[in-house]
């Protein structure tokens, strides 16, 4: 077995200490992973163990998948069909369906970022549908901002 050496003092008086960290991804629940810290009893130096990245990456990949599925489920529930989103965004047919259904496939970070933005501001689909034309985009933004303001006023008249 390979000797564990302290990166600071170089002594082999290193013990591995487990501790848990919580990691989370937007639109997915958080998850707890056990990571290891190397603690040297000679100099007191503590450092991240090199094996942690793999453990974290594995859990993150699972959380990202959950996040994508949740985002797409919620958009579908709002009435945005997969085919209409693919068309508005100029994606090849079945791209979004594959992100959602193919468990073996990990959607790219860019795909996840795109769909999270659309889940946060679904009216971006209308902007995409208008080919991102500047004036149309501004009108859509203002319409939705006005609607939000009215909704806030109705819910909390004291705020506005």
């Amino acid at each position: 077995m390979e000797k564990v050496i302290c990166s600071y003092c170089g002594k082999d008086t290193v013990s591995i200490k487990d501790h848990e960290i919580e990691i989370s991804e937007p639109y997915a629940e958080s998850s707890t992973v056990k990571i290891q810290e190397r603690v040297c009893s000679h100099c007191g130096f503590s450092e991240d163990d090199g094996s942690n990245d793999l453990v974290i990456q594995k859990e993150l990949a699972a959380l990202k998948r959950v996040s994508m599925v949740n985002v797409l489920d919620e958009l579908n529930a709002m009435g945005h069909t997969t085919a209409s989103m693919e068309r508005a965004l100029g994606l090849p047919a079945r791209t979004i369906a594959r992100w959602k259904n193919e468990r073996s496939m990990s959607p790219s970070a860019a795909a996840l970022a795109l769909m999270r933005m659309i889940r946060t501001f679904p009216w971006l689909l209308a902007v995409a549908d208008m080919h991102f034309e500047g004036e149309a985009a501004r009108n859509i933004l203002l319409q939705h901002a006005a609607k939000e303001l009215v909704d806030i006023h109705l819910e909390r008249p004291d705020v506005l």
Partner: protein
């Protein structure tokens, strides 16, 4: 504060040496080490959830507008004299961050001691933007 702890006005290291060291990213044997706790603040403050992601961010020029803060001794050192720790503020997007690191001569390794958000360190991004636009209220002028 004793004489030995008076912060140095100049960086101990050439920052380029540190940035260059971060190029050998976390997947390969690297001479950059994250001290305990750094991974957690990198994840929670900057969404950099692994060592690889943190070093890749630094390597990609993520530490923008680096501003030297101070150079102080690494207090928990066993080395005599103790290594000097350089600290910098940086900007990234809407955040102001703080990084401190030192080079351990005995092991020829760079050690990142702190990496976290530090919005309280000085003018916020909003203040920078307001000042640039000439819209900073007079009462905040000179607050740096």
């Amino acid at each position: 504060m004793g004489d030995a702890e008076v912060p140095k006005p100049q960086p101990e290291y050439d920052i380029k040496d540190f940035l260059r060291a971060c190029k050998g990213n976390g997947r390969q044997p690297s001479n950059v080490v994250l001290m305990g706790g750094v991974l957690e603040t990198a994840a929670s403050h900057f969404s950099l959830k692994t060592k690889e992601a943190t070093l890749a961010f630094i390597n990609a020029g993520g530490l923008e507008d680096l501003e030297f803060v101070n150079s102080i001794e690494y207090r928990r050192s066993f080395e005599v004299p103790p290594p000097i720790c350089d600290a910098y503020h940086f900007k990234s997007g809407f955040s102001v961050g703080y990084i401190s690191f030192f080079f351990s001569e005995s092991n020829r390794k760079w050690i990142i001691k702190s990496f976290h958000r530090d919005d309280a360190c000085g003018p916020t991004i909003m203040e920078f933007a307001l000042r640039k636009a000439g819209l900073l209220p007079a009462c905040l002028e000179g607050s740096e």
